[in-house]
Symmetry: C2
Subunit: 180 residues, 2 copies
Amino acid sequence: MTSGHIFIATSLDGYIAREDGSIDWLEVPGAELEDHGFAEMMASVDGLIMGRGTYEKVLEFGVWPYEKPVIVLTRSLKAADIPEHIKDKVSFRASDPAELMTDLAREGWIRAYVDGGRVIQSFLSVGLIKDMVLTRVPVLLGGGRPLFGALQGDIRLNHVETQSFPSGLVSSRYQIIEPD
Amino acid sequence: MTSGHIFIATSLDGYIAREDGSIDWLEVPGAELEDHGFAEMMASVDGLIMGRGTYEKVLEFGVWPYEKPVIVLTRSLKAADIPEHIKDKVSFRASDPAELMTDLAREGWIRAYVDGGRVIQSFLSVGLIKDMVLTRVPVLLGGGRPLFGALQGDIRLNHVETQSFPSGLVSSRYQIIEPD
């Protein structure tokens, strides 16, 4: 099965976006000069998996930022909705997470970057995430869209390494420990 | 005014206790052999401030763990309720946070260790916290009592230092930046 990998930034209180979806607070002075490992992570995966919300947010950027194939999990969007300039990079699927990871393995994917709050939560809760890099931005928002959600039980992790940056960002890598 | 200082551990998803108050998940193999800075922090404060919930939890330990004076913020408990063996260490007050910090400064307190979820939230939201040490335990609980709560606006912080430990605990120190 293809393994899932998370690479995401949250506020100190665990939000990935404000209630209205805005991520203005992610812009920390100096952070743009630092290497937080995003390019290295991106080089290590065969493609991305995201939900409709994240996909539509990325579309708003205007310029499509990903070279690698992107799979959008959606039951409502249709292939005909994909803008012409990214038709060869984006595909829509309606599979459930485990089904998708089995299909992707058959298609030759070894590692997938799993992105977006709800998609991350659903992959985590069914054991499809192998490791995560969590970057903490030094701000408390007091509310917003949380990274983590409800689980069937505890998920224990191995801390691999932590790096802090002059901007104040602190980045920790964890491996998920398989339940006994 | 006396300054407030936080020193607390949370799960990776930001909880300080399970829904039922239990903190069994805090016991990480090897962590008991590490110096996470608690003694040093304790030596630097004039006393502790906590809510009724935390006070009652600590009482359950059987042995009272604090040498320094402890102030419990409560409107329901009465001085007569304080057990005999800690009568000289514990006092109850019903003041609001800012009032309390003004009174304590007059009484000679320079730094107070502020503990317990709701008390931390109320002190943070009115700007009475100077710095915090946040220790992340490598586990996702999926639910429980969150450390942070709603705020009037963003609180920005300066990252001072981060240390990680063989047990997997990661401890970061932040100073609260005064709003402009």
